[in-house]
């Protein structure tokens, strides 16, 4: 990939640019702080690329329009923040059930409710997992930098297409609003091929056997799309074995591609006593600490940063738990991912939450201090 000259870019802009690089040509949204720059960037960029930008009447309609466009064969994305993310939930569930690819960006702000619209938070992690009704699979990425935002948006778009599964990108206000030097690849061939070009002869829209490609509307395959439980052809069914099988199938497909779905990164000591597990902007504070403690001082500490929050990186977490005595989980909320860490770590290691929920970032000092307590 040829690299271009470095530029200064905002996280939200990088999200828009990543989407465009991955072939997204449809954006529908409704403004909300701190996500609005994604829309604003798209409004400038998409028309020139022959794409569609539309500001809908609300977030519900935005989500619906994105699904509609995706069924029409356009790669589509929408961005919002907490209140809008809550409103989108019903239709996110629809996209999951009907297996329509799309990417939903939530630039998290301090909640609940209107909260502090301009303050950062990581308070929607569990909502991203469980926000819509019924058992549903989700893929959630959470970048820690402007470049990671660019990169993970591309991954989100492509994975979404491949698995016919909505992907949620959980930014936080810090990453979304911060500007940073990034070098983005130019003219990259990041887009996957169009699924519709190679429709198998016995194609069924919801093939029991696995992942059928999505054939967009308008190509003479007259199938039915519904949010009801449906058979292989998309028609409603309430038959218990079919219901069970459909539900399993939409969950299983994520694990089939676990390597592409679950992204994490470990830095630090090989035999750590204390491991920090975190995600999003908090990774930056943790990395500042671990770099100093391990690189400079060879202390037995490590950092497992999660780019994928859901499906939860259980294997990766269990692995560090086997080595470490203590796992510290800093989060800008009252403790969300830490619950999942506890569930998987069980008694293998001590799990210690480090929470901040006053609308400010967790500082490196807070983390150092906590590590200090355990290494003393």
């Amino acid at each position: 990939m040829p690299e271009t000259k470095p530029v200064l870019m905002q996280g939200n802009e990088a999200c828009a640019e990543g989407a465009i690089s991955a072939g997204v040509r449809f954006y529908a949204g409704y403004p909300i702080t701190p996500s609005t720059e994604v829309a604003e960037k798209m409004a400038v960029r998409l028309p020139d690329l022959g794409g569609v930008f539309i500001q809908m009447e609300d977030e519900i309609a935005s989500m619906a329009a994105v699904i509609g466009a995706s069924i029409g064969g356009m790669r589509a994305l929408t961005a919002t923040s907490g209140p809008g993310f809550s409103l989108k939930q019903e239709n996110i569930g629809y996209a999951i059930m009907a297996e329509i690819p799309c990417v939903i960006v939530n630039v998290q702000r301090m909640g609940p409710s209107t909260g502090v619209p301009t303050a950062p938070s990581q308070g929607d992690v569990m909502q991203a997992r469980w926000g819509t009704h019924g058992d549903h699979p989700v893929i959630v990425f959470s970048p820690a930098s402007v470049y990671e935002t660019y990169y993970l948006t591309i991954a989100a778009v492509n994975l979404s297409q491949k698995l016919r599964q909505p992907v949620i990108l959980l930014l936080d206000e810090v990453v979304g609003h911060m500007r940073e030097k990034v070098t983005i690849p130019k003219d990259s061939k990041l887009m996957v091929e169009k699924a519709s070009d190679k429709v198998p002869a016995d194609w069924k829209p919801y093939d029991d056997k696995g992942l059928a490609p999505l054939v967009p509307f308008g190509f003479g395959h007259y199938y039915h799309v519904t949010g009801l439980f449906h058979d292989q052809y998309g028609f409603p069914t309430g038959d218990p074995p079919q219901v069970e099988r459909s539900l399993e199938r939409i969950h299983e497909k994520l694990m089939k591609y676990r390597d592409e779905v679950i992204l994490t990164n470990y830095i630090g000591h090989k035999e750590p006593r204390v491991v920090i597990i975190t995600y999003g902007c908090t990774v930056r504070s943790a990395r500042a600490v671990v770099k100093k403690a391990y690189w400079n001082n060879r202390m037995p500490v490590g950092l497992l940063s999660l780019q994928t929050l859901w499906p939860f990186p259980d294997k990766e977490v269990k692995e560090v738990a086997r080595k470490a005595d203590v796992i510290i989980v800093p989060e800008m909320n009252m403790g969300q991912i830490v619950g999942e860490v506890e569930r998987h770590v069980k008694d293998e290691a001590e799990v210690v939450p480090l929470n901040r929920y006053d609308g400010e970032m967790i500082s490196p000092d807070q983390i150092s201090e906590m590590i200090g307590r355990w290494l003393a």
Binding site: F26, A28, P47, D48, G50, G51, V52, I54, M56, E57, D58, I60, A61, A64, A65, V66, I67, G68, A69, S70, I71, G72, G73, M74, A76, E90, N91, Y94, P216, F217, G218, F219, G220, H221, Y222, Y223, H224, V225, T226, G227, L228, F235, P236
Partner: protein, 278 residues
């Protein structure tokens, strides 16, 4: 012109029949009128899409042999807006119940009208929530009974086409299941209109509405519907007093205003593809 010799051949999913609607329900009559309107038009079957919401009437999508999209309650027009903007060459019919369209879906309805996006809304107005068993809708006439209005509803109803007009809709027509040929023609005219069109199709729900309001069976309801209707052409020749209690059918308004999807594509310098009918 597509073959019209057998209604069900190409455009109905006959394997899915009989349908789930109750005996005498108007949904089937309206759906058949839609199918005939499509058959008579010269569309490529691949270009036709049916989008619907949630409700008895919205189940129509499952019986029509096109690309069909059965969405969430109230949101059909918003899904359709995304699809139309992504694929402006498609001819999209959006089937909604009166609750679907005007209660939970009211916002998308007025915004589709405002944008004047080329979607063909067919609102099957049975004056009630059929699917959930008979609660009042914003189109239930005042005083009529429903499970959630056991003494008759105190709410005022929308005049659906006035609402559409106030929101900026450029085509509005009213037909009914008791005059299926006229309804078919209205749906055909709506599809020819470039911009957002609304066809309000009055339709009997003998089970959830008729029974509770003692309106008789399907035949009685259809007969009354027919008797109470007067076409706008005939109505224009009558005195106001003679029209008391009558429902006016026909094309109530039809106006030429730039259509949103094509304006958008024009603005980005792209032309909308036309299918080579081969």
């Amino acid at each position: 012109m597509a073959s019209i010799d057998h209604l069900t051949k190409d455009f109905l999913r006959t394997k899915k029949l009989p349908h789930i609607w109750c005996p005498g329900c108007g949904n089937g009559i309206v759906t058949a009128a839609l199918v005939r309107a499509i058959e008579r038009a010269d569309f490529d079957q691949r270009d036709v899409v049916i989008v619907s919401g949630i409700g008895c009437s919205s189940r129509a999508a499952g019986y029509l042999n096109f690309n069909t999209l059965h969405t969430t309650h109230g949101r059909a027009l918003a899904f359709a807006t995304g699809l139309k903007m992504a694929r402006p060459e498609l001819i999209i019919y959006v089937i909604m119940g009166d609750g679907d369209c005007s209660a939970i879906g009211g916002n998308h309805f007025i915004h589709s009208a405002r944008r004047n996006i080329d979607l063909n809304a067919i609102v099957v107005n049975n004056h009630i929530y059929g699917m959930t068993g008979g609660q009042h809708s914003p189109l239930t006439p005042g005083g009529k009974k429903a499970t959630t209005a056991p003494r008759g509803t105190l709410e005022r109803e929308f005049k659906l086409l006035e609402l559409a007009r106030g929101a900026g809709a450029t085509f509005g027509a009213r037909g009914n299941a008791a005059q299926p040929r006229q309804l078919e023609q209205l749906i055909a005219r709506a599809a020819n209109h470039k911009g957002f069109s609304v066809v309000e199709a009055l339709s009997p729900c003998p089970i959830a509405y008729g029974r509770r309001n003692k309106l008789g069976g399907p035949v009685d309801m259809l007969k009354e519907m027919k008797e109470n209707s007067i076409s706008i052409e005939r109505a224009s020749r009558k005195e106001q007093s003679e029209l008391e209690g009558k429902t006016i059918t026909g094309v109530l308004f039809d106006e030429d205003v730039p259509e949103y999807a094509s304006e958008y594509y024009k603005s980005i310098g792209k032309s909308i593809p036309v299918r080579d009918n081969g």
